[in-house]
């Protein structure tokens, strides 16, 4: 009997004591200061300055110290960076960078491109606000194709490379561009090239691949950039 009563009564007691505890904790939080930071307009300092220095925000390239080595382009696992280096006959075959584009829409802010840079030209900044109406406008262009910049020649024995204040360049670019700027008009697509033929030795693939695959051009596929393995 007493056992049965205990089984009946014990939960009631536990319910009261535990609810008592819980209520007192929630009340104590009512009396404490909330931890929320009210982004973006009610912070004591701008959110950008509250971020730690290692924050991986928008990539920034200081063209003045870019050696055009393309190490960052190779390091990027998803081909977000496109660099084109040419020899400019007008400048005595000086190597110039005609294209240095970073597609921030696709960038995953992993930081792998920063690590191999020999001069610290490409860096993550603490900039992170850059909404654009058109996704094409999220490509940040660090080289002007009409006025390509010459590559930086590392002075012998230099271990320090003067760099513009981190973030100033990308911020200038972001502020210069209106958020609803018109998107660049791309050229009409080139006539589609036939997809590389499926190796004939493997009949299973031909059976599984639908006919649409044959005509699709793989050249602009976003993640896969290399040729299929034999």
């Amino acid at each position: 009997m007493s056992q049965a009563f205990r089984e009946y009564a014990a939960p009631v007691v536990r319910t009261f004591t535990s609810i008592w505890d819980g209520l007192s904790i929630t009340l104590s939080h009512l009396l404490r200061r909330p931890t929320t930071i009210q982004y973006p307009d009610r912070t004591p300092i701008s959110v950008r300055d509250m971020l730690p220095p290692r924050y991986r925000g928008f990539l920034e390239v200081d063209a003045a110290i870019c050696t055009g080595c393309q190490a960052c382009e190779r390091a990027c696992p998803i081909s977000v960076i496109a660099i084109a280096v040419e020899k400019d006959p007008a400048q005595g075959n000086q190597r110039v960078v005609t294209q240095f584009d970073i597609d921030l829409a696709k960038c995953m802010f992993c930081g792998l491109c920063v690590e191999p840079c020999p001069t610290g030209s490409i860096q993550h900044t603490r900039e992170f606000e850059g909404s654009q109406r058109h996704v094409r406008n999220l490509v940040v262009r660090w080289a002007d194709p009409l006025k390509p910049f010459p590559v930086y020649k590392v002075p012998k024995g230099a271990d320090h490379h003067p760099r513009a204040p981190l973030g100033s360049l990308v911020r200038a670019k972001m502020e210069w561009q209106r958020w609803d700027a018109p998107a660049p008009e791309f050229l009409p697509p080139e006539p589609k090239v036939a997809a590389p033929a499926v190796p004939a030795a493997i009949p299973a693939a031909a059976a599984t691949a639908p006919p649409a695959a044959a005509s699709a051009a793989p050249s602009t596929s976003p993640t896969v950039k290399e040729e299929p393995k034999p």
């Binding site: 081909s79 977000v80 960076i81 496109a82 084109a84 005609t98 294209q99 584009d101 597609d103 829409a105 996704v135 094409r136 490509v139 262009r141 194709p145 009409l146 660049p184 791309f186 050229l187 997809a195 499926v198 190796p199 030795a201 493997i202 009949p203 299973a204 693939a205 599984t208 691949a209 639908p210 649409a212 695959a213 699709a216 050249s219 602009t220 596929s221 976003p222 299929p228 393995k229």
Partner: protein, 179 residues
């Protein structure tokens, strides 16, 4: 027991159905004949000094050159804290294998995944259907010869690459700019 000892033990019991230890400088493994797989699995699980009570992982490897699919089993014993890697080779054209669901329940989902991504069909599996991909997906993506179909039900998986497009645009503009 080390994998080598386990292999020796199995060899003593099943003879030629159990292959030799692979010559590798990394993690060792050995192969088991497809016909003996179920018996070997039950033996591995039930023998007290082996007691492989857990199927840690089951996956597959595609070797188009050898024209085989290897189904890889990673076994582990919580009793003895030892493990072993067992591989079974199946024909690439019509891959099939008896299911291990009856031995380790974890095999149910692992085998569904192998079926989904490699196309190995497991005989006797209670619920063999695609697990990660849609039911009407065509092909088995982790096979080396898999080609993307370019979309699914009219949903394209391609998008313009602005970097490429910008480069084309640049080239045109520079040509126009040239005298």
């Amino acid at each position: 027991m080390t994998p080598q000892e386990i292999q020796t033990r199995l060899r003593g019991r099943f003879g030629e159905a159990v292959g030799p230890m692979a010559d590798t400088r990394r993690d060792p493994f050995f192969t088991v004949g497809k016909g003996a797989l179920l018996e070997v699995a039950a033996f591995l699980r039930d023998e007290p000094d082996l007691a492989m009570d857990a199927l840690e992982d089951e996956t597959a490897l595609d070797w188009p050159q050898r024209n085989v699919l290897e189904v890889v089993l990673h076994l582990f014993s919580f009793t003895h804290r030892h493990g072993v890697t067992v591989k079974v080779e199946v024909d690439r054209a019509a891959p099939s294998l008896p299911t291990l669901t009856g031995v380790w329940r974890a095999a149910e989902w692992f085998e569904r995944e192998v079926y989904d991504l490699f196309g190995v069909s497991f005989e006797g599996h209670p619920d063999l259907r695609r697990i990660l991909l849609p039911d009407d997906w065509e092909g088995h993506p982790l096979r080396k010869d898999y080609r993307e179909a370019g979309g699914w039900h009219g949903i394209s998986n391609e998008r313009e690459n602005p970097l490429v497009e910008l480069r084309r645009l640049d080239q045109k503009r520079r040509q126009e700019n040239l005298p």
